[in-house]
C-alpha cells in the first residue's frame, strides 16, 4: 500500500504528540512540564487544522497553549517548582 504525503505528515504529528505527552509525565520540573504541555497543545492545534477544523485549532492555540499554560505557570509560581 502506498502512503501519501498528507498521511506521513499525520503520522509525524501523532508521534510528536505521544512523545510530548510522555515528556510531560516524565519531567520532574513542573515549569518544564508546563512548557512541554504548551508545545503539546500547539501540535494538537496543527493536527486539528490539518483535519479541517480551523475553529477548534484556533481555540486550542489561544486557550490550550495560551491561557492554560499561563494559569499553570502562575500556580507553579505560587507553590513549588519541583515535584517530589
Amino acid at each position: 500500500m502506498t502512503i501519501e504525503a498528507s498521511r506521513l505528515f499525520d503520522v509525524g504529528l501523532m508521534t510528536l504528540l505521544v512523545l510530548c505527552a510522555l515528556a510531560v509525565v516524565r519531567t520532574k520540573d513542573l515549569l518544564a512540564a508546563a512548557i512541554i504541555f504548551s508545545a503539546y497543545s500547539l501540535v494538537m492545534c496543527l493536527v486539528w487544522d490539518h483535519r479541517g477544523a480551523p475553529d477548534v485549532a484556533m481555540t486550542e492555540a489561544a486557550v490550550g497553549a495560551g491561557v492554560t499554560t499561563v494559569l499553570f505557570l502562575l500556580a507553579i509560581g505560587k507553590t513549588v517548582r519541583r515535584e517530589k
Binding site: 501523532m14 509525565v25 504541555f37 477548534v56 481555540t59 486550542e60 492554560t68 494559569l71 507553590t79
Partner: protein
C-alpha cells in the same frame, strides 16, 4: 486488527494519549502534575471526537463563494469548542483550589496531604 488500527490511526492515538494522561493522574503525587494529566486526557477525548467528524479530502465547513465539498462534519467541532472552554474553566478553578491548599497545608503532594488529616 492491526490493519483496522492502521486505518483508524487517529482513534488509536487518542486511546494512547488517554492512557498516558490516566497514568499521570493515578501515579503522580503532585496535584499540579495530576491536572496536567487530566488536561492530556481531555485533549485526547477532544481529538477523538474531532476525528469522528473527518471525511476523506474534506475541507473546513465554511460556505461562501468558491467553497467546494465535501465538507467535514461541523457538529463535533461545535461540541469540542464548548468542551475546550469548559476544560479551561475547570482548570482555572482547580488551580486556584491547589494554590489555596498550598497556603493552608504547605504541601501539594497527595500522599503528604493524606497524612496531614
Amino acid at each position: 486488527m492491526i490493519g483496522a488500527l492502521w486505518s483508524n490511526f487517529d482513534y488509536a492515538v487518542s486511546v494512547v494519549l488517554f492512557l498516558i494522561g490516566l497514568y499521570c493522574v493515578i501515579a503522580k503525587n503532585n496535584l499540579i502534575k495530576k491536572f496536567m494529566g487530566l488536561n492530556i486526557m481531555e485533549t485526547s477525548v477532544f481529538a477523538f471526537i474531532v476525528a469522528i467528524g473527518v471525511v476523506d479530502r474534506g475541507s473546513a465547513p465554511i460556505m461562501g463563494p468558491g467553497a467546494r465539498g465535501p465538507f467535514v462534519n461541523p457538529i463535533p467541532q461545535a461540541l469540542i469548542l464548548t468542551g475546550i472552554v469548559v476544560a479551561v474553566s475547570t482548570t482555572a478553578l482547580a488551580l486556584s483550589l491547589i494554590v489555596r491548599v498550598w497556603h493552608q497545608c504547605g504541601t501539594i503532594e497527595a500522599d503528604e496531604l493524606r497524612e496531614l488529616e
